[in-house]
């Protein structure tokens, strides 16, 4: 009895350690890969950690026009993403069964967006407004793709609980590599947009009128900025985690393997996806704002394929 308990506690500790420590490393991986592509040595892998620590020790400046929304957004977003990290199936290591409802996960993500957009509008700067306006536009285009990919998977497994749908014991989804692969790709493309990565937004520029995410957080500084950044890193972890899980499910090998390999490979696959973001950013260009709907259409098209597969699977 005690051994089971220690196992559970150990799993919990590992899980918490992963989701607290892994996110900045992912960003480190992205930056390092990009630097190597550009023939630079680049900052150390752990630089995002140092940045966060430095930001925490700085003095904060707040615009006098802001209200409580601006002050509390970062804290609320970090908390929401921590809750999401416990709910969403971004890794196959899930020590708790909290019931990751598909619609709850999507709407918790939307709630973080609600706060981010409001805090961007709060200071009354032109940049914040621009960023906010673009963020809601992108979200609107991406949201149906994300929900349809996940709903198709849920529909085949006949439950809206992603925890059940993403477990490797679910026979209904065992022989569906096509569905998993297309869903994984669709979600990955959608996450590029949701995470403000390259074809949609350039995370390295400031003060460009093309940017989305960086424009919204222009007024944040010090601890507040650190929290915003950390929340964004967590979002990278969760979204990439979900798409990598989809891709892992597409490979038959992982259905018949041990728990430990699964956990390790789910972490490694998140890192691989992070590296592939870096590769995409190195070889692709940022699309013009008016061309973005066409890019997102790929993701939507994949989600529609998922829906067709799901419908044919349940044909009775």
């Amino acid at each position: 009895m005690t051994s089971i308990n220690t196992d559970a506690i150990l799993e919990t500790l590992v899980f918490i350690a992963i989701f607290l420590l892994l996110p900045p490393l992912l960003v480190g991986i992205i930056r390092k890969t990009k630097a190597r592509f550009q023939n630079r040595i680049g900052a150390p892998l752990l630089q995002p950690y140092f940045d966060l620590l430095k930001l925490l020790s700085k003095g904060e400046t707040i615009s006098k026009h802001t209200s409580w929304i601006f002050r509390s957004t970062a804290a609320i977003n970090v908390s929401l993403l921590i809750i999401l990290a416990f709910l969403a199936p971004w890794t196959s290591l899930r020590p708790f069964n909290l019931g990751a409802d598909l619609f709850l996960v999507i709407y918790l993500l939307a709630l973080t967006r609600f706060f981010t957009v409001l805090s961007a509008l709060d200071a009354g700067s032109a940049f914040g407004g621009f960023g906010a306006s673009r963020e809601v536009t992108l979200a609107l285009l991406v949201e149906p793709a994300v929900i349809l990919c996940l709903a198709a998977i849920g529909s085949v497994s006949q439950t809206s609980d992603l925890g059940v749908a993403f477990s490797f014991n679910n026979i209904a989804l065992a022989n569906q590599p096509g569905l998993w692969f297309i869903a994984g790709c669709g979600l990955f493309l959608a996450s590029l947009v949701e995470l403000s990565r390259m074809p949609a937004d350039d995370p390295t520029t400031h003060l460009e009128l093309t940017m989305v995410h960086e424009a919204m957080i222009l007024e944040n500084s010090a601890a507040n900025l650190a929290l915003v950044e950390y929340a964004h890193f967590l979002k990278i972890l969760i979204l990439l985690g979900i798409s990598s899980q989809c891709l892992l499910h597409a490979i038959p090998f992982f259905w018949h393997t041990t728990e430990l390999i699964l956990v390790l490979s789910s972490i490694v696959s998140i890192m691989i996806l992070a590296a592939s973001i870096a590769i995409i950013e190195s070889v692709a260009v940022k699309l013009r704002w008016t061309k973005l709907p066409e890019f997102i259409a790929y993701s939507v098209a994949m989600s529609i394929f998922c829906v067709f597969i799901a419908l044919s699977k349940n044909l009775n």
Binding site: I69, S133, P144, E219, L227, N316
Partner: protein
């Protein structure tokens, strides 16, 4: 007739609520000058609380009584019926009535003429009585009578500010819509009476072949009254017009009454026409997309809220459609889920929309405008209004842990479960598509309400009036603010205790779907309350340990201005620029056009003046309604020719009519 003590007391409570409101009406009509508005507000509040308590004690049983039996409408008596379905609506009426009563005194105090005050009180009381009796009506005749009382008094409320052209137009459009819907409802009632020989609403069953026409009449009547596409055009005109506090009643209940009728007759009457289900789903879907898109582009705060009603009515209608569809296929679980979703969303939406309209009324009172371009930065001067409006916006965007999330989740779940149920493949495909459409609508409404909150309350004030806005007329929060707080607390409480609320609605859902084994709390398995608690603890610990850890080092400074010197407020994002990117994507539907005019010598690099204008042509009004109105205009101007004014011609008409009647009488 009356033997059970609960029956007796519940019936008494409802009747005395009506009597108190009637007394209020009489007092405001007769004793004008002497009566304080506080006394009238007290009467209104008392009636609302009696309604609320009547709903509370009769929540899980059906009570039939006829205390108004001495009132007879020719064909039937004014019988009353309290069944589980009307209880939640009565509770909503009680709650919104209380909020209106609390907010009323400070509204009437600001009115300058005695006439306007009298108008306000009289019509509000009639409106309340009408709505209560509509909910209690047991037969078609009583229903129609009170439905008319409700419609006409609300039309008069829309016309309160009748000197303005805007209000005249709104009242006219609203009256037209209510006339059409009443005509259709009357037709449907007559049809059903002809089929069944009874006027009792509960005796009508819509499972038979003959009832199809009546069901279609009802569906279109309800669509007209609730403001579903394409009959919604009156809604953005009429919703903003009623005076402040009553706009809560108007926005929260008028549409809901129509939905109530649909549920009472089609759902509880076991409608089993697939065509009705398809029509409801199609109209609902278009309505939700159309409503939210126009809400997003709107520049007027109250019109934005009104269009958002179009969206939500659409969502409710799709859920009702699925309930009928599932009933046709004998999918009891999905029918139950859909009925619960429709009912819960109707109530939640009524509550939230009333809250938001009160917030908009508060903004209008403080700034004297509803134009988003003149608002901004109100969070500083109007903290309570901002908080309540914020909670309302969170809720209407269906954000967890608010009440609308629960009901929207039920809607999603309905479609999701239909996608793997034992139904035809096309319907399953439709249901998954609907999941995507709902997500799309959800993202649009997020854009819409971040715009409403962000542009109206955050940022810097865009006008002097907004900079000098004062939240309340007294030092503390006054009635209007307290009413908002009341509704906001109700939203949060329902949101964090959804299982209890669903248990309370379970009898009503059982009545709608005849599913006797339903357990309300098992419909919604997400522990929203606990999640909110965990979230609250996390947020406060982050606030304590990270943000507020060294509060001494936080300094306040201007918004970053790129080093160019103080920013003008005109550099800020405006409402229309916020929604412009989305507007461009849908420019075909919105008929959005932008013209840019740059003038000056070297106009490319050093323009002297830049003028940018955006135009939107409402496509439905110009392409569909204007031609129809044209035909009506032409017809009526042609008919005028008959009326020459000459007595001889009129005598000829009388003679010809008589000849015709004699002919018909002898030959048929």
């Amino acid at each position: 007739m009356i033997n059970d003590p609960t029956t007796f007391s519940a019936a008494n409570l409802f009747t005395s609520a009506s009597a108190i409101w009637l007394g209020g009406l009489a007092i405001s009509a007769v004793g004008r000058e002497k009566v304080k508005s506080n006394f009238l507000a007290f009467l209104m509040l008392a009636g609302a609380l009696l309604t609320l308590s009547g709903a509370a004690i009769s929540w899980n049983q059906s009570i039939e009584y006829n205390q108004l039996q001495y009132i007879c409408f020719g064909l039937a008596r004014a019988d009353s019926l309290v069944d589980p379905l009307s209880v939640p609506f009565l509770a909503l009426l009680g709650l919104l009535g209380s909020a209106t009563a609390i907010a009323s005194p400070c509204h009437t105090a600001a009115l300058n003429s005695q006439g306007k005050r009298g108008h306000y009180w009289k019509l509000s009381f009639i409106f309340l009585i009408g709505m209560q009796q509509v909910l209690l009506a047991a037969n078609g005749i009583a229903f129609l009578v009170f439905w008319e009382i409700m419609s006409l008094s609300s039309a008069a409320l829309v016309a309160s500010d009748h000197i303005r052209h805007r209000a005249q137009r709104a009242a006219f459009a609203y009256l037209t819509a209510t006339r059409i819907s009443t005509a259709l409802i009357t037709a449907a009632f007559l049809w059903m009476h002809h089929n069944t020989g009874s006027w009792s609403l509960s005796a009508w069953h819509f499972g038979t072949e003959q009832s199809l026409v009546a069901a279609f009449f009802l569906l279109f009547a309800v669509c007209t009254k609730a403001g579903v596409w394409p009959m919604h055009v009156w809604l953005p005109l009429a919703y903003p017009e009623p005076p402040g506090p009553t706009s809560a009643l108007f926005s929260g209940l008028v549409g809901n009454m129509a939905i109530f009728l649909l549920m009472r007759l089609l759902l509880a009457g076991q409608c089993s026409h697939l065509s009705i289900a398809y029509a409801a789903i199609a109209l609902g879907t278009i309505s939700s997309l159309w409503g939210v898109l126009f809400a997003l582009m709107e520049r007027d705060l109250k019109k934005l809220l009104a269009y958002s009603t179009v969206e939500n009515m659409g969502i409710i209608l799709t859920a009702i459609g699925v309930a009928i569809l599932a009933h046709c296929h004998n999918l009891t679980a999905i029918a139950t889920l859909a009925a619960a979703a429709a009912l819960f969303h109707t109530l939640n939406h009524g509550l939230v929309k009333a809250l938001l309209f009160l917030g908009a009324a508060s903004v209008e009172r403080a700034v004297h405008t509803r134009e988003l371009t003149a608002l901004g930065g109100l969070a500083k001067n109007m903290p309570w209004t901002m908080l309540c409006f914020f909670i309302g916006s969170l809720s209407i965007c269906a954000m967890p842990p608010m009440n609308c999330f629960a009901s929207k989740w039920l809607v999603y779940q309905t479609f999701f479960q239909l996608s793997y149920a034992n139904a035809p493949i096309l319907e399953r495909a439709m249901s998954l598509a609907m999941v995507g459409i709902l997500a799309f609508v959800g993202a649009l409404s997020l854009a819409c309400f971040t715009k409403a909150v962000g542009i109206a309350f955050l940022g810097r004030p865009r006008s002097n009036a907004a900079a000098k806005a004062k939240e309340s007329t007294t030092n503390g929060p006054d009635g209007l603010i307290i009413a908002q707080l009341l509704l906001a607390v109700a939203c949060v409480m329902i949101g964090t205790s959804v299982p209890i609320a669903l248990d309370g609605l379970a009898p009503a859902v059982r009545q709608l779907t005849h599913d006797q084994f339903l357990v309300g709390s098992s419909l919604f398995p997400i522990p929203q309350g606990q999640l909110a608690l965990v979230g609250g603890i996390l947020v406060s610990s982050i606030y304590l340990f990270v943000l507020g850890r060294r509060s001494a080092e936080v300094k306040s400074y201007i918004t970053w201005d790129c080093g160019f010197g103080p920013l003008s407020t005109r550099a800020e994002e405006t409402g229309s620029s916020f929604s412009h990117p989305i507007g461009r994507i849908f420019s075909q539907i919105l008929q959005l056009k932008v013209t840019t005019e740059i003038s000056g010598k070297d106009r490319r690099h050093f323009p002297e003046s830049v003028r940018v204008e955006t135009f939107m042509t409402p496509i439905l009004e110009t392409k569909l309604y204007r031609p129809v109105m044209g035909i009506f205009d032409w017809l009526s101007s042609s008919l005028v020719r008959l009326q020459t004014g000459s007595i001889h011609i009129h005598l000829l008409y009388v003679f010809l009519t008589m000849v015709l009647l004699v002919f018909l009488g002898t030959n048929i």
